[in-house]
């Protein structure tokens, strides 16, 4: 209880002090701060059966986790504040109106082993979880001056972090025994999850960052290749296959997120659109004293954020990445020069490859990336999981990125390439602009059709550099 009160005071500091403040390891300073490093942010109307009146938000952190990295594996940081931000007013100006905070607490259960997890872990209450993490969730409505904090679910169970997937011997039937039981229901129909999952992002990062050195055959999609999942380009490599991330997910009723507390049905309703992003914070001072654990003091200061995919990766220049990570979406017009005339479009696509692209300033890109918040039109019904098109609105499926939020499986790289090439501008939805892609068209393993939607984490036992991270879709969970 004392801990709860202390945490509460810390959370209140955020308000009173006014310190408000997809990227895998993007920003030089974040390379030194992996537990606070956010990778991707998702926001979408739930496509789980019977739950379309809810919005799901999730954030991934600490990308590129090797599933076999025992005995310690990975954990959330107790000294990082993980936050979902929702903007529902003032024309979506990039300032938060609702915040949902996650704060973690680690308990090292008494033991005399060198392990973090001992014996067969077949339930989330197994005492063999020696490194036991719990968390509290604080929901804050900034316009109505109230907040509520939860440390237990509706059944009185502590909100605990799912343990790692070690393998069939230590963590048998992982998803049934450990994954789904780590989904907790809070009052008001809210559901939360925190723990390791497969990285849902897929992308031929190796080829792309070898200066667009895409692998044969051509990474240009056409005809049926655009309409179906699976990779028609077997040489393309998913650089994220076989790796896990740390996921935080929350599902809330739509009525909790709109400014008027209603479910909008008319696209012209000023409450039809909301937007979200994720951010992480550390306290301004860290005190290290002898052999004691470090202690955080002072205001929470933002260290990372993520709204739309590809912003800091593909549009913000290296010298400004850390500053961008620490800045507020509401001030994103200061970065507009890099988005209004992106080098990728004008110099690379047009200059080098001869594509016809729209002239600067690119108002189509500015409307998505400034401020850098993921917008969702709540009047667009969710597309059933089996019918979703990886290209979202570019493939005729409006419930995907960038207009219907961002779902787990949206192929944001191909959508992004094509959008930068100008397909959202009249006269530029032409070949080859509307055929660009990296050749990786699906995740290495299937997603879930239910909360938290990310696939279960890859198992340490099954993982290997040869089979687990070769990018050819070998299931290892």
């Amino acid at each position: 209880m004392r801990q709860q009160i202390l945490r509460f005071c810390a959370a209140s500091l955020i308000v009173t002090a006014g310190a408000f403040a997809a990227s895998h390891r993007n920003g030089p300073m974040l390379l030194e701060d992996q537990t606070a490093n956010l990778n991707d942010f998702y926001i979408f109307r739930s496509y789980e059966t019977g739950r379309s009146d809810r919005v799901v938000m999730s954030m991934s952190a600490q990308g590129f986790q090797n599933p076999d990295n025992g005995p310690s594996y990975y954990k959330f940081s107790d000294s990082v504040l993980y936050r979902f931000n929702v903007n529902n007013s003032r024309g979506l100006d990039g300032n938060p109106d609702i915040q949902i905070d996650f704060l973690f607490h680690t308990t090292l259960r008494p033991n005399n082993t060198f392990l973090s997890y001992f014996g067969k872990i077949d339930s989330i209450d197994n005492p063999g979880i020696l490194l036991y993490q719990t968390y509290q969730v604080t929901i804050r409505d900034l316009n109505h001056q109230h907040q509520v904090t939860f440390v237990e679910d509706v059944n009185g169970h502590a909100l605990s972090v799912a343990p790692p997937n070690q393998g069939p011997n230590a963590t048998p039937d992982y998803e049934t025994n450990l994954g789904q039981p780590s989904v907790f229901t809070l009052p008001g129909g809210i559901r939360v999850f925190a723990g390791p999952r497969d990285d849902a992002f897929y992308f031929d990062s190796g080829a792309t960052f070898d200066f667009l050195n895409f692998r044969a055959p051509a990474p240009v999609l056409s005809g049926s290749a655009d309409q179906a999942p699976g990779s028609p380009f077997p040489n393309a490599v998913d650089g994220f296959a076989g790796y896990n991330i740390s996921l935080i997910a929350v599902e809330v009723p739509i009525t909790m997120l709109t400014a008027n507390g209603q479910v909008p049905t008319d696209p012209k309703d000023p409450n039809a659109k909301i937007a979200g992003w994720a951010s992480t914070y550390r306290q301004s001072l860290t005190i290290r004293q002898g052999t004691n654990d470090p202690q955080g003091v002072g205001d929470w200061v933002q260290v990372d954020r993520v709204g739309n995919p590809l912003t800091v990766e593909a549009l913000i220049p290296l010298p400004l990445k850390d500053q961008w990570n620490r800045s507020q979406p509401a001030n994103d017009r200061q970065f507009a020069a890099f988005i209004a005339d992106p080098v990728l479009a004008s110099a690379v696509f047009h200059g080098v490859f001869g594509l016809k692209v729209p002239p600067a300033p690119r108002s189509d890109l500015l409307s998505v990336y400034v401020p850098d918040i993921t917008r969702i039109d709540l009047t667009i019904p969710p597309t059933p999981f089996a019918s979703q098109n990886r290209l979202g609105p570019l493939g005729g499926d409006l419930a995907g990125w960038p207009f219907g939020g961002r779902r787990i499986g949206d192929d944001v790289v191909d959508i992004g390439f094509r959008a930068v090439a100008g397909v959202l501008v009249g006269g530029f939805d032409i070949a080859p602009n509307n055929e660009l892609g990296d050749g990786v068209n699906s995740n290495d393993i299937p997603y879930l059709d239910h909360f938290p939607f990310h696939a279960p984490p890859h198992a340490g036992f099954s993982h290997s550099q040869e089979a687990g991270t070769n990018g050819h879709g070998t299931p290892t969970n």
């Binding site: 006014g18 100006d93 667009l212 200061q334």
Partner: protein
């Protein structure tokens, strides 16, 4: 089940709610949403009190973007010109961006100076301010930035191209001698769009000798290696495409 509900400092907030928007916008006790709500109430308000409060609000990152836009919409040139001399680069950047949106000829000079600011954020925002001018009177300032080189040179050349002035081609040819790859790529685009046969020898030399980034033996499909030779080949094709067939 443990649930805690906290109504934080509600009585003081009620008191703040009775304050004018200028006071609420600047009140550090209020949260970021409340302060921006107040700032939005001031949009379109041109009173001296409002403008003074908005100028003060530039100091606060929580409401800076809203305040800067309000100042511009109120035509508060002097307040924004003062802000462009601020010690805080983010304030200088915001002021430069909004001054550019006013499109006043007398502001070209201070914006051009700000575009040479050693802080990249300030320089690019000043350039973005200059890029908002639709009048060709801004062209000399843009071309001067191109010739000076530096981080905003390629952006300045890209924005100068919209005026389709022969001076842009002249400068593009000059900067082909630099080692700044983005600038040379932009210059090649301008030469391809507006160059003539006199450019072909230089382009052909570049197309022939540039090294390909990719190792041999790997396919690229539509997307070939990223290098200047490819851009030079594009420019050659564009120029040759404009020639009468007997000239080829």
């Amino acid at each position: 089940m443990k649930t805690a509900i906290l109504f934080f400092s509600f009585s003081s907030l009620v008191a703040f709610a009775q304050d004018p928007a200028t006071a609420r916008m600047l009140a550090p006790q209020l949260n970021v949403a409340e302060r921006n709500n107040a700032c939005y109430e001031l949009r379109g308000v041109h009173s001296p009190e409002a403008i003074a409060a908005l100028a003060s609000a530039l100091q606060s990152p929580e409401v800076r973007s809203c305040a800067a836009r309000n100042l511009r919409e109120a035509g508060a040139v002097q307040e924004l010109k003062s802000a462009i001399a601020s010690a805080d680069p983010e304030i200088r950047a915001a002021a430069a961006r909004e001054l550019g949106a006013l499109g006043k000829p007398e502001l070209i000079e201070p914006l051009a100076r700000a575009a040479r600011d050693p802080n990249l954020l300030v320089a690019t925002n000043a350039l973005e301010g200059l890029a908002q001018y639709q009048d060709p009177s801004v062209l000399p300032a843009l071309l001067s930035l191109v010739e000076s080189g530096g981080p905003v040179a390629a952006m300045a050349l890209s924005r100068a191209e919209q005026f389709e002035d022969p001076a842009v081609l002249t400068v593009a040819r000059k900067v082909m001698a630099t080692r700044d790859v983005p600038l040379r790529l932009t210059a090649l685009r301008e030469i391809g769009d507006h160059g003539d046969t006199s450019d072909l020898p230089v382009l052909r030399e570049l197309a022939a000798k540039a090294e390909r980034v990719a190792p041999a033996g790997r396919g690229f499909g539509l997307v070939p290696p990223l290098d200047l030779s490819r851009a030079a080949q594009n420019a050659i094709r564009q120029i040759e495409g404009r020639l009468p067939s007997r000239s080829l």
